[in-house]
Amino acid sequence: MRKPRTAFAFTVLFFVLLYLPVAVVVLFSFNSQKSLTVYEGFSLRWYEAFFADEALIESLGMSLRVSLVAMVGSLVLGVALALGLVRARGKLGLYAGFIMLVPLITPEIVTGVASLLLFKGLGIPLSTMTVMIAEITFSISYVTVILRSRVAALNREVEEAAIDLGATRWQALLLVTLPALLPSILASGVLIFALVFDDFVLAFFTTGVTPQPLSVRIYSAIRFGIQPTINAVGTLMLLGSIALIGLALLIPRFFGRRGGLSILSGE
């Protein structure tokens, strides 16, 4: 079928609007001059400047740590929750399932402010730890939503077979159920890592003064005038994100079966 011309034009326009600003950032990260409007030649000086900037590097380190902890924490809790929700008797699973969706549709600023008020109210000083806690809380929903359908699709008889063959419930979970879920677990882990690393709003409300997550640090820096270094950081973050999403998409192929992020790959 031939695609109507107007639809094609709109599609092109959409992608131009979506990616042009990003392309500008990437281009100017290689600018040899400080200008943000005129491209004057290729250089890597802003990348050098970034790696020389101790404050930025410290923020990068913190963001990586937060992402890693949030990934592991939300995976452990999210997988357990998905298993529990699917297997809960009666209506409990249904209601809990709806509640799970709430964080996904709540404006992030509300979650951010709420977290801030909670920590203040409990008298917990804001720090790396509070960012981690907030990000874990926020990410559990994603993990659970992704894994729930996979858990529901598992054949209960497989776990029963393991128990029948002498495994305890825990062994059946570890040796049979979790391996069956592994592609989805890894894929959602990568997704969470990327989401948390890129997150600004929640990090902004829950971080202490130093160190700050990279996204927050960039925001603060911009308030004092835009440095081309930021372009370099942006480009690197973009590369990292693309790599992670690509990884998330490749994981199921690696296992030779479906079950990764069907949301992303549209399978």
Partner: protein, 350 residues
């Protein structure tokens, strides 16, 4: 070996199994036969420990295991869906049970190898279950259970997913394996041919109760109830009224059946199996009736005739197409034929 007494299971209002009593001897090939939804799987799952009975007792070798978990019972299951571990190789699937029990490495190697040989999968140990055919997956499921040498093996319609030819082949193999290992098999099926050909004993279930339990010959030749008679093949059930050694069919025909323990005037069903009805070479003392051929169905080794005795009373008659029978001897539709059967082959069911 296994004794189920007064075993019941309800799911809310739904009574899936109702006070079941069964005795299964060691080394038997025992079949649970019945239509869909009659409670076969539920019974099997209670024996396996996956379902807690609502009432009753399960004794395994004299020991009460009613509420023991599956991993504490000396029983293994071959699931209808096979339930293989897809992330493990065929070899690791089969070794799973032995590893859980902490069997020594050398012994595991020996036993897994021998079991895979027995089910003719010796070459496929390194393959993943997903790369196997249906029949091969079925064998893996069987090997994975058998390698543990349980006292009882439970099989829930293990051949249901196979095509007819493979199914026949696996029926014979399964029976051979059972004789070889001498383990008690409890085999669930809804296929009466399968149950008849494979079993030492068959329990015919309907609506959560066992209607009859006996040898294949018992349940086929001497069905205890109307349900068993009609479930075990074609049975030519003809409604009528019993009086003084004869049944008067609804169409007015009276058939001598010999003295039975029914009161005169009892509504009964008369049944004569299609292969017990003769169309020629009658013996003395046979019950003889006349009928009109309505349909002739040729199916290779046999021919089935549908014959009206009187309007509204139709029976099926099965004839062997032997070397001596000729095509032109076959009856055609509309022809009038004589039928005969021995009084002993008449079943009278309430």
């Amino acid at each position: 070996m296994i004794r189920l007494s007064n075993l019941s299971k309800s799911f809310g209002e739904m009574h899936a199994v109702r006070s079941l009593d069964l005795d299964i001897e060691a080394g038997q090939f025992f079949s649970l036969l019945g239509p869909s939804g009659c409670g076969k799987t539920t019974t099997l799952r209670m024996i396996g420990g996956f379902e807690k009975p609502s009432a009753g007792v399960i004794l395994l070798g004299g020991k009460d295991v009613t509420y023991e978990p599956p991993n504490k019972r000396d029983v293994n299951t071959v699931f209808q869906s096979y339930a293989l571990f897809d992330h493990l190789s065929v070899w690791d699937n089969v070794a799973f049970g032995l590893r859980r029990k902490g069997v020594a490495k050398a012994e595991i190697t020996q036993r897994v190898g021998a079991t895979l040989e027995m089910v003719q999968l010796g070459e496929l140990g390194t393959r993943k279950p997903r790369t196997l055919s249906g029949g091969q997956r079925q064998r893996v499921a069987l090997a994975r259970a058998l390698v543990n040498r349980p006292r009882v093996l439970l099989l829930d319609e293990p051949l249901a997913a196979l095509d007819l030819k493979l199914r026949r082949q696996m029926q014979i193999e399964l029976k051979q394996i059972q004789r070889e290992v001498g383990i008690t098999f409890i085999f669930v099926t809804h296929d009466q041919d399968e149950a008849l050909t494979m079993s030492d004993r068959v329990a015919v279930m309907n609506n959560g109760v066992v209607e009859q339990c006996g040898t294949p010959e018992d349940v086929y030749e001497r069905p205890a109830t109307r349900f068993v008679a009609s479930f075990m093949g074609t049975s030519n059930l003809m409604p009528g009224v019993y009086a003084d050694g004869a049944v008067t069919l609804d169409g007015g025909l009276t058939v001598n059946v010999g003295q039975r323990s029914f009161a005169d005037g009892t509504a009964v069903s008369l049944s004569v199996r299609p292969e017990k009805i003769w169309l020629s070479d009658f013996e003395d003392g046979m019950t003889r009736v006349r009928g009109t051929v309505r349909e002739t169905v040729y199916s290779g080794p046999t021919t089935t005739y549908l014959i009206d005795l009187v309007p509204g009373v139709r029976v099926a008659v099965l004839e062997q197409n032997t070397a001596r029978s000729r095509n032109e001897d076959r009856w055609a539709g509309g022809e009038t034929v004589d039928l005969g059967w021995r009084t002993a082959d008449c079943l009278v069911l309430s």
